[in-house]
Amino acid sequence: MSSAVRRRLDRLATVLLGLVAFSILGIVLGILGDIFLKGRRTVTWEFLTQIPLDGMTRGGVFPAIFGTVCIVVLMIMMALPLGVLAAIYMVEYAGQGRIARVIRAAVNNLAGVPSIVFGLFGLGFFVLFVGRNLDRVTGRDLLFGQPAMLWAAATLAVLVLPVVIVSTAEALMAVPRSLREAAFALGATRWQVVRGVVLPQAWSGILTGAILSVSRGAGETAPILFTGCAYYLPRLPVVRLTVPLLGIQVPMVNPLDQFMELSYHIFIMATQSHNTMLTRPIQYGTTLVLVGLTFTLNLVAILARRRLSRRVVKA
C-alpha cells in the first residue's frame, strides 16, 4: 500500500471513530430530549405537590417523590456505614493476602448480580426469612413479614453496597502514602492513622460515592417491585407518634409501611393505568421528574469530586 493510501486510511479511521464516539452524544440527546420535550408541560408546581386525582389522569406525583426520598435515605443509612467500614478494612488492614483478594472478588461479583435477582433475594430473604422470623420472635402477627419500605431499602442497600465500597476504596487509596508514614513515624496506631489522617482526606470521595449510590438507588425498579411499592397510596408513609413524657405528637416516617415510588410509578402508569394513552402526559412528567432528580444528583457528585479533589493534600 502506498503511503498516501495509508495516510488516507488513517484520516478515515480517525473521522469514523470520532463520529461513533459523538453518536453517543446523539443518543443521550435523543432520549433526554424526547422526555424533556414531551414532559415539560406536565411538570408544574402542582404536579410536584399534589396526589394523583381522577383515576390517576390528573393531579401529581407528590407521594411518589416523598416515597423515593424516604427509601433512598433509609438505604444510604444502611449502606454507607457498612460500605465505608468494609472499604477501610479492605484498603488499610487487609493488605495483599488471600483475604483481600477474596473480598475484592466478592465485591466485583456483587456488582455483577442482576437487579431482579436482588428482588428475589429481597423477597426471599428480607421479607420472608428475616421478617417472618422477627414476627415469631416478637410475637406479632405478620407485622415484619410483609412487603415494607424497610425491606425495600435493605434490598437497595445490598445493591449499592459495591458502589459505596469501591468509591470509598478509591478515595482511601488516593491519599498519599507519605501522610500515613508520617503518622506511623510519630507512633500512631493504625486506627489513629485511619481516623485522624486518612479519613479526613478521603471524606470528599466517600461523599461523592454516597451521592452516586443515592442516584443509583432512586433509579432502580426491579429490586423493589415486590418488596413494598403500591399503585395508589395517596397517604404518606408517616405516622404520628406520641412522645412519652412530653405528650406531644411527632410525625415520623414509618419504615414498615408501603409507599409509592417514582420509578415504580412510571412502570405502572405505562402498563397498568386505566387508559395508557390518556395518562401518557403524566407518564412523561413522572419520567422527567425522575431523570431530573438522578441527573442533578450525578451532576452534584461529579462537580463535588472535581472541586474537592483539588483540595486533597498532595505530598
Binding site: 452524544l25 466485583n108 436482588f118 430473604f125 493504625r190 432502580e220
Partner: protein, 358 residues
C-alpha cells in the same frame, strides 16, 4: 446491574491494584526519602499515652475484628444470595419432573397430544420449559453486545488514542450521563418512541420484539464497554506505540495492529462483562420485548427473557408453591450464568495484568 457505570467496573482491569503502588504520590517524594513500611501498633509511644498501652492495644484489636466483620459483608451477602436462591431452586427441581424443564405436552382441538416448549406455569397442566426463556435472553443480549461492542470499542479507542484532552473531558461526562439514566426511563423510551421508530424502518410483524429490547439494552452497556476499553488501552505501555511509530506506521496502523492487540484481553473482558450486564437487564426487556414465551431464532419476533419472567410473575405467586419455586430456579440459572461470566472476565483480566506488568 442497571444504571450508573460505577468504578466497580474499573476495579477489574486496573493493573496491579496493590496498596504500595497505588498510594504512591505523583512526584514520588516521601518524607525522609525512605519508603519502608512501618509496623503498626507495636511501636513504643513517644508522647505520654492518655490510656495504658495495654487497653489501647485491646481496643485496636477489637476494632480490627469489627472492621474485619464489615469486610466480610460482601462475601457474606454473596453467600446469602447464593443460599437463598438455590434453596428454593432445589425445591423446584425436587417437585417438578426434570423433563418438564425441556418441554411438555398440550392437547390440541382434536384431542391429540402435542409436544410444546412453553413457559406457562399457570394452568391445569403447567408448562415449565426453560428453553424459550434462555433463548429469549440470548436473543436480546447477543445483538445488544454486538451493537454496544462496536460503538463502545470505537469510542474507547477514540478516547484513549485519538481524542485531545478537551474532547475527552467533553465525552467522558456524556458517557457517564448515559450510564446514569435509570433503566426504567430507557425502557419507557423504547416502549413509546423507539419501537414505533424501528417498526417504521423494519416493518416487523411484532412491534415489540427482541431487537427493540436489544437496542435499549445496548444503551446501558455502551458506557460499560467504552470505559473499560478506554482504561485497558491507556494501560498499554507507551514504548509499544513508540516502537511502532519509529518504524513508520500511521496512527491508525499503530492502533489497529499494535495497541488493540496488546489490550485484547481487556477488550474481551469488557465484552464478557457487557454480556453479563445484558443478560441481567430487566426493566427494558420487560417493557420492550412483548414477552411472548416462544422458541424462535428470529430477533424480530417477540421474546420472553428470564429476567422479565421473574419480574412479571413473582408478585402474583403464592409463596411455597411450585410456580414460586420455579421462578427461583430461573433466578438461580440467571445468577449462575452471570456469575460464570464475571469469573471468566476476571480471569482474563488478571492474565492481562500479569502480561502487561512485564
Amino acid at each position: 446491574m442497571e444504571g450508573l457505570v460505577t468504578k466497580t467496573d474499573r476495579l477489574a482491569p486496573r493493573p496491579a491494584v496493590s496498596l504500595s503502588s497505588r498510594t504512591q504520590p505523583p512526584g514520588g517524594g516521601a518524607v525522609g526519602g525512605e519508603r519502608r513500611r512501618v509496623p503498626a501498633a507495636k511501636r513504643p509511644v513517644l508522647s505520654a499515652p492518655r490510656r495504658p498501652a495495654r487497653l489501647r492495644r485491646a481496643a485496636e484489636f477489637l476494632l480490627e475484628k469489627i472492621l474485619f466483620l464489615h469486610g466480610m459483608a460482601a462475601i457474606l451477602l454473596i453467600a446469602l444470595i447464593f443460599v437463598f436462591l438455590f434453596r428454593e431452586a432445589l425445591q423446584a427441581l425436587h417437585r417438578i419432573p426434570l423433563d418438564l424443564w425441556w418441554g411438555g405436552t398440550d392437547t390440541d382441538w382434536d384431542g391429540k397430544a402435542v409436544f410444546v416448549q412453553r413457559w406457562q406455569p399457570n394452568g391445569d397442566v403447567p408448562k415449565y420449559s426453560l428453553v424459550p426463556l434462555v433463548l429469549g435472553s440470548l436473543l436480546v443480549a447477543v445483538p445488544a453486545v454486538v451493537i454496544a461492542g462496536l460503538i463502545g470499542l470505537a469510542t474507547g479507542i477514540y478516547l484513549a488514542e485519538i481524542a485531545s484532552r478537551r474532547v475527552r473531558d467533553l465525552i467522558k461526562p456524556i458517557i457517564e450521563l448515559l450510564a446514569g439514566i435509570p433503566t426504567i426511563v430507557i425502557g419507557f423510551f423504547c416502549l413509546v418512541t423507539l419501537a414505533t421508530l424501528l417498526q417504521g424502518i423494519f416493518h416487523t410483524r411484532s412491534r415489540l420484539n427482541a431487537v427493540v429490547g436489544a437496542v435499549g439494552v445496548s444503551f446501558v452497556i455502551i458506557p460499560v464497554i467504552a470505559s473499560l476499553v478506554d482504561d485497558t488501552l491507556r494501560a498499554v505501555p507507551g514504548y509499544l506505540r513508540e516502537a511502532s511509530y519509529a518504524m513508520g506506521a500511521t496512527r491508525w496502523e499503530t492502533i489497529s495492529r499494535v495497541v488493540v492487540p496488546a489490550g485484547v484481553s481487556g477488550v474481551t473482558a469488557a465484552l464478557i462483562l457487557g454480556m453479563g450486564r445484558a443478560l441481567g437487564e430487566t426493566m427494558i426487556v420487560l417493557l420492550a420485548t412483548g414477552n411472548a414465551s416462544q422458541v424462535t431464532f428470529n430477533p424480530f419476533e417477540s421474546v420472553r427473557t428470564m429476567t422479565a419472567t421473574i419480574a412479571a410473575e413473582l408478585g402474583s405467586v403464592p409463596q411455597g408453591g411450585d410456580w414460586y419455586a420455579s421462578l427461583f430456579l430461573v433466578g438461580a440459572v440467571l445468577f449462575t450464568i452471570t456469575f460464570a461470566l464475571n469469573l471468566v472476565a476476571e480471569i482474563v483480566v488478571s492474565r492481562m495484568r500479569r502480561k502487561l506488568a512485564l
